[in-house]
């Protein structure tokens, strides 16, 4: 174990961890929302993320940005970010909707057993990932430099780059917006009602299918933005990265307490941090492993995650 590496740049590892964690958190939201309402692990959510990540790159390409382009000027950076986020969100929400319609709704209508849902989800996940793989010839696709990785300021001796600030900042902003939406809006109340008791909610005149669709769209949009942020942070995208990232995000959701929005945030950030500290201590190869060890240990002591499970009980 290399404590020197960790403590010589503790701040740096922390910032990087939070950045990675913010992306986990955004993807984790999708798992948590769907789980909260349907009690279902949306295994295909990782491909919802991938769809957004590819859409952002291809969207930028449509606006004339290729892998070598570097955007400059605050105004155009903001414009491209907005465009990228919008395209990614729409693409991901669209993918999520298709998955809901094709893979889940028919099963729901037939009252299929839970395992059947899992298998269609796995099938959809594999099919979508492979479609992207075949289309991109399984090669990495480069993303344009929309935001340059300049150091903006220093906190506790750690440099914070523009990309890191963007990722963490936008993730937090979206979480707050979502939290408000779920807790304050009419639709949000509907979602909470369905999460608590589907049948009663239906009796109260809430359109269950519509709520479920909205949940998939919201979760999808979040994952799409996460995809764009991923492009900006990593700079390149391979069709197969969704699987592991999805797994981590799901771990994050469970860590925080699946079904609980704030839990997804906490879980995501925590997982990002732990992973980065671990990669400093044990080497980058082992960081994936640490995430799961943390999860197992945590679940043994707190079987419902850090914050407990409750979309319905309106964790304020």
């Amino acid at each position: 174990m290399d404590f020197n590496a960790l403590f010589s740049d503790f701040g740096g590892y922390t910032i990087t961890g939070l950045t990675v964690g913010a992306i986990y958190a955004l993807v984790a939201l999708g798992y948590t929302l769907v789980y909260g309402v349907l009690r279902l692990i949306n295994f295909a959510h990782s491909e919802v993320f991938i769809a957004g990540a590819f859409a952002a790159i291809w969207g930028w390409a449509a606006f004339g940005l290729d892998r070598d382009s570097v955007v400059s000027g605050f105004g155009s950076i903001m414009l491209y970010l907005l465009v990228g986020a919008l395209i990614a969100a729409v693409a991901s929400a669209g993918t999520a909707t298709v998955i809901e319609r094709v893979a889940y709704r028919p099963l729901r209508k037939r009252n299929a057993p839970p395992l059947a849902f899992l298998i269609t989800a796995i099938g959809a996940s594999i099919a979508i990932a492979e479609a992207f793989g075949i289309y991109t010839r399984r090669l990495p696709v480069g993303a344009p430099t929309v935001v340059k990785n300049d150091v903006l300021f220093t906190v506790f001796g750690a440099d914070v780059t523009a990309v890191q600030l963007l990722v963490i900042g936008s993730a937090l902003a979206m979480m707050v917006a979502l939290d408000l939406f779920i807790n304050r809006s009419r639709v949000g109340r509907g979602i909470r009602a369905v999460a608590q008791d589907q049948n009663t909610a239906a009796l109260m005149g809430i359109n269950k299918d519509r709520i479920i669709l909205i949940v998939f769209i919201i979760g999808g949009a979040m994952a799409g933005v996460a995809g764009m942020l991923y492009d900006i942070r990593i700079g390149t995208l391979t069709y197969s990265v969704g699987f592991l990232l999805g797994l981590k995000a799901f771990t994050a959701a469970v860590l925080g307490g699946i079904g609980n929005l704030r839990g997804a945030l906490i879980g995501g950030l925590l997982l990002g941090l732990v992973e980065n500290y671990a990669s400093a201590l044990f080497g980058a190869n082992w960081k994936d492993l640490v995430a799961f060890v943390v999860l197992v240990v945590l679940l043994m002591f707190r079987p419902t995650g850090l914050l407990g499970e409750s979309l319905g009980r309106a964790r304020a």
Binding site: L38, A116, L118, I119, T120, N285, V293
Partner: protein
Amino acid sequence: MTSVREWIYSGRHAVSERWHHAPRWMRWAVIAAVIVFFYALPNREFYQWLGPIPTTGSNFGQVLFTISIYVLLAVGLNIVVGFAGLLDLGYFGFFAVGAYTVAVLTSPSSDLKTLWPWLLALPVALVLTMISGVMLGTPTLRLRGDYLAIVTLGFAEMIRVAATSSEFLKGQRGFNQIPHPPGSYADGKPIFGVLDPRPYYWLVLTLIILVVIGVRNLNRSRVGRAWISIREDEDAAQLMGVPTFKFKLWAFASGAFIGGLAGALFAGKQNFVSSQNLELLNSIIILAAVILGGSGNIVGAIVGGGLVAYMIERFRGIELLGIQLYEYRFMFFGLVLVVMMIFRPQGLIPNRRRAAEFKDRRKEVIVGG
């Protein structure tokens, strides 16, 4: 459309009715015929009459070996998922433990330099996989279904990371010159060589038969009843005196044993084991095979495992409109899973118990209770 489907359903129902009411000797005769067929299958003299069924792009014996390994894995995972209702997404991890144990004990590239023969390493591998199953199960089997799923997936990933990153396990370079199983023909030539994959297939086929007999014995006993009662209603099972934790652990250990056996066989055939054999997708494929075939049904698991592996292999070397179909195999596989589950969510050969009607179940696996 509907009438066609009903016709197919009723036809299938009639077949299963006839099967269950057939005299004992007739059932045994059919089973014997099926077994003979599969022993004969890898011989060219036999399979050349089977039209498009044999794979064209690769050695059919080799393909059959791969398929048989998947079948063995599906039978093992069926105990965990189908009988006990425990969602294990990392089953392939046990295969890895089995394969790597054999590799470490037998290969000259291993740091241990024990250079054991395959047959000596086999029992050690089986015991170690069972222990790994118990070690994984002890902290996790108290968790709820969906958490269990993620933790088991993590287990498989941990094995993969360890195999890739640890110096002891040799990463992608892997272990080579793993010895073959023992045995030689009358003329002194080894039965299990490099060129002919058929003996390996026959070996696995024989072991599958033994394993199926064992699993069937377990299923029709106190042990199997305990597993199914756990799947149906764990609390009620406990209150009826079933030591649920103990039997869940047994389900895990039995599944692990079979997974480890498959891994050891694979290592003995392939001579070579490296971290590239450990795609996470494999766990998913086996799970899909079990559910596709009909979770909770041994025959279903066999059919599912065989079909899934065959489907993937069948695409090899086929070219259509200038496209290599093999490239598309997983995409098709994914789509088939979706379509299959929508039209036949109970699997191809559902558990006889569930066949009558297919109602919603409160039981949480992914749908929490």
